[in-house]
Symmetry: C2
C-alpha cells in the first residue's frame, strides 16, 4: 500500500466538516482505499463486479450436508437466469454478475454470463487424500487471476468474491483449521443448516481430512509452497479460484470485497501464497459460520456487515459495497472546515 497516499488521506479526513474519527471504521476503509490506489482521494470503487466461482466436492459423498450435489449445477442455472439472491443484491448495488464454472460435476449448458473454465468434475474426497492435484489447484488459481484481470480491464473498479458449491463449508472448515492451527470443532459450522448428529460427523470428517493429508499438527508453515499444498489437499476448486481472484485484484491494485466463510478460507490460502495481497481485501461481512470469525481474525480484517447471513454466493460482499463507496465518496464530496466556514472545536 502507498503509505504517502494513506497519510494524505488521514490528514484530509481530519480537515473535513465532521468531528475527528466520527466515521469510525469507514475512515479506515477510506485510508486503505487511498493506499491501494496510491491516490488521495481514492477513486470511487465502482462499478463493481461479482464473480461467482462454482465447484463440486468429493467429500459430499461422506454425507456432510442434506443438500443433493446437483443443486450446485441448478444454482448456476439460477444465477444465469437472474433468479438468485446474489442477482437481486447485485441489482440493488449496480454490480455485474459473472458465473465461472471451475469444477461443477456436470456438463452445463452455455448461458449468458456463464464462463466455462472447468478444471475437473469436482474435487476428490478430501477425507481420503488430497482433494486436488497441485496442477489442478494451480490451474484454478490461474483462472481466478485471469477473471480478475479481465473484469478490471473491462472497467470494473471493485471486485467481489462469490461462491457456489454444495459441501463447500466442509472444505472451508478444513482450510481454516489447517491455516490457523485451530481445532476443527471450533471452526466447523452448520453451513446451510444441519442437525447435531450431522454436525458432529462433519467435524470428524474435517479432522480426518487434516490427518490423512498431514495437516493435523499446527498451522501450515509459511511460504507459497506449503500454502499451495494445503489448498490442494483440503480446498475446493472454487476456493483456489477465489484465492487467485484475490491475487489478481491485488495485482491490479483494485479492492476485493470478500464474502463469507468460503472467501475467508480462500483468503488464508492467498495470504500464504502472497501475504501482501490481503492489503487489497476488505471483509464484506461476518457470516454465522464460526470459522469465519477465526479466518477474519487471522487475516486482520474487520467485517463491515454483521447480520447473521449464511447464504454465500457473494451476498454479504454485495451488501458491503455501498458502505465502501460511501467511505470513498466522503473523500471527494465533503467540505473542509475552511471551505465551508465552519468553526472547529475549542481545544
Amino acid at each position: 500500500l502507498d503509505q504517502g497516499a494513506m497519510a494524505e488521506a488521514r490528514s484530509h479526513q481530519d480537515r473535513l466538516t465532521k468531528p475527528r474519527g466520527s466515521l469510525g471504521v469507514l475512515e479506515d476503509v477510506a485510508v486503505r482505499l487511498a493506499g491501494m490506489a496510491g491516490a488521495c482521494p481514492p477513486p470511487l470503487p465502482a462499478p463493481a463486479a461479482l464473480a461467482i466461482f462454482a465447484g463440486d466436492h468429493g467429500v459430499h459423498a461422506r454425507g456432510v450436508t442434506p443438500w443433493p450435489q446437483e443443486v450446485t449445477a441448478q444454482m448456476v442455472a439460477n444465477f444465469a437466469a437472474g433468479g438468485a439472491v446474489a442477482n437481486a443484491f447485485a441489482n440493488q448495488v449496480g454490480a455485474s454478475v459473472t458465473v465461472v464454472d471451475v469444477g461443477v460435476a456436470a456438463d452445463l449448458p452455455s448461458a449468458p454470463g456463464l464462463l466455462s473454465r472447468k478444471v475437473a468434475y469436482g474435487t476428490a474426497d478430501l477425507s481420503q487424500g488430497p482433494a486436488m492435484t497441485l496442477e489442478q489447484a494451480a490451474q484454478a488459481l490461474a483462472t481466478g487471476r485471469e477473471i480478475a484481470r479481465d473484469l478490471v480491464a473491462a472497467g470494473h473498479r471493485c471486485l467481489i468474491t462469490g461462491d457456489m458449491g454444495i459441501a463447500n463449508t466442509t472444505a472451508s472448515a478444513a482450510l481454516i483449521a489447517a491455516f490457523t492451527g485451530e481445532d476443527p470443532a471450533r471452526v466447523t459450522g452448520r453451513g446451510t443448516g444441519i442437525d447435531d448428529a450431522t454436525h458432529r460427523h462433519k467435524i470428524d470428517v474435517v479432522r480426518q481430512a487434516l490427518e490423512v493429508n498431514g495437516l493435523g499438527a499446527g498451522a501450515v508453515p509459511e511460504g507459497p509452497e506449503a500454502a499451495l499444498r494445503a489448498l490442494a489437499a483440503v480446498g475446493g476448486l472454487e476456493h483456489a479460484a477465489i484465492a487467485g481472484f484475490i491475487l489478481g485484484g491485488a495485482a491490479a491494485r483494485v479492492p476485493v470485497i470478500l464474502d463469507g466463510v468460503i472467501a475467508g478460507a480462500a483468503a488464508l490460502a492467498a495470504a500464504g501464497l502472497a501475504p501482501r495481497a490481503i492489503d487489497y481485501c476488505l471483509a464484506g461481512h461476518r457470516s454465522a459460520e464460526p470459522g469465519h470469525a477465526t479466518a477474519l481474525a487471522a487475516l486482520g480484517l474487520r467485517p463491515l456487515v454483521d447480520l447473521e447471513l449464511r447464504l454465500g454466493e457473494g451476498t454479504g460482499g454485495l451488501l458491503a459495497h455501498p458502505l465502501v463507496c460511501a467511505a470513498a465518496r466522503v473523500m471527494h464530496e465533503v467540505a473542509t472546515f475552511d471551505s465551508a466556514g465552519v468553526s472547529e472545536k475549542n481545544s
Copy 2:
C-alpha cells in the same frame, strides 16, 4: 402491523432458492416491511427522504461540549450547500435531503432544501428547569409529523431521521435516562469527543436535569401525557420534531430508518406517545454513544450497521438504506425452488 401480510412474507421467504433463514436479520426486515405496508411482497422502500432537524440547546451554556454553538447554524448552511457527510451519503444511496430549522439560535438565510419551522431560538437550559414549554414541544412534534406527511405525499417510500444541534447528545442522554430509568453515568457518552473532566461534568449536568425536572426516580410512567412532559423537560426541539416525524411515518405506513442516539432518544418519546409507532421504525445503526444501545434495547430494535459511527446528521440511517432495500428486493426478484427447478434439501 398487518399480521396476514407478515405470515405470507415468512412463508414466501421459505420458498425462495436459499436455505431457510440464511438471510438472517434481513429476513426479519422483509417480514416487517410487509407488515407495515400490509402487502406481500412489500413495496421497495425507495426513494428515501432524509430530514435533518436542527435546533440549539440552552444547556450549551453549561460547557458540556467544546464546540461553539454557532456550529449548528454553520452546519445547516453546509447541508444546504451539499458539503456535509450526510449529503455525500445521500448521494450514494439516492436519498433526498431536507433540512428543517425547528430551533436554531440564529436567523438563517433562506436556502434551497431548507425549511424554516422555527419554534424558538433554542431551548432553555434543561439543567435549570424545563427545556421547552409543553406548547413548544407540541409544536415541534406537529412540525415533524407534517414534514413526514409532505415527504410521503411527494412520493418518498422511506423516511430517514437526521439531526443537527450542538450539545444534543446531552439532551439525548437525559431523555434516555428518563425514559428507561437507567443511571445517567451509564447512558451519557462523549458525543463528538470530550475529555474525561468534561465527560464527568456532562454526567453531573444530566443528573441535575433529571432532578430539577422531577424525573430522577425511575422511568417515566406510561402514557402520552407523561411522555410529552418528559420530552419537553429534557429534550431538544429536534428531538420533539423527530418524534413527530416517526409518528407521521407510522401514520403513513412508511418505514422510518432511525439514525443514532438522538433518534433513539426521540423514538423513546414517540413510543411513550404512541407505542405502535415503533413498529414502523428500523434501527439504521448503533452509534458509539453508550446510551444508544440502551435506547435500542428498550425499543426492541436491532441495528443494521455497526461501524462505530458517532456523527449524527442521519449518516447511519442513510448507510442502512441499501440494506433495507435489499431485504425488500429479495421478495420481488428471487426465484422459488419450484420456479427455478432447484432441488430442496433432504429432510
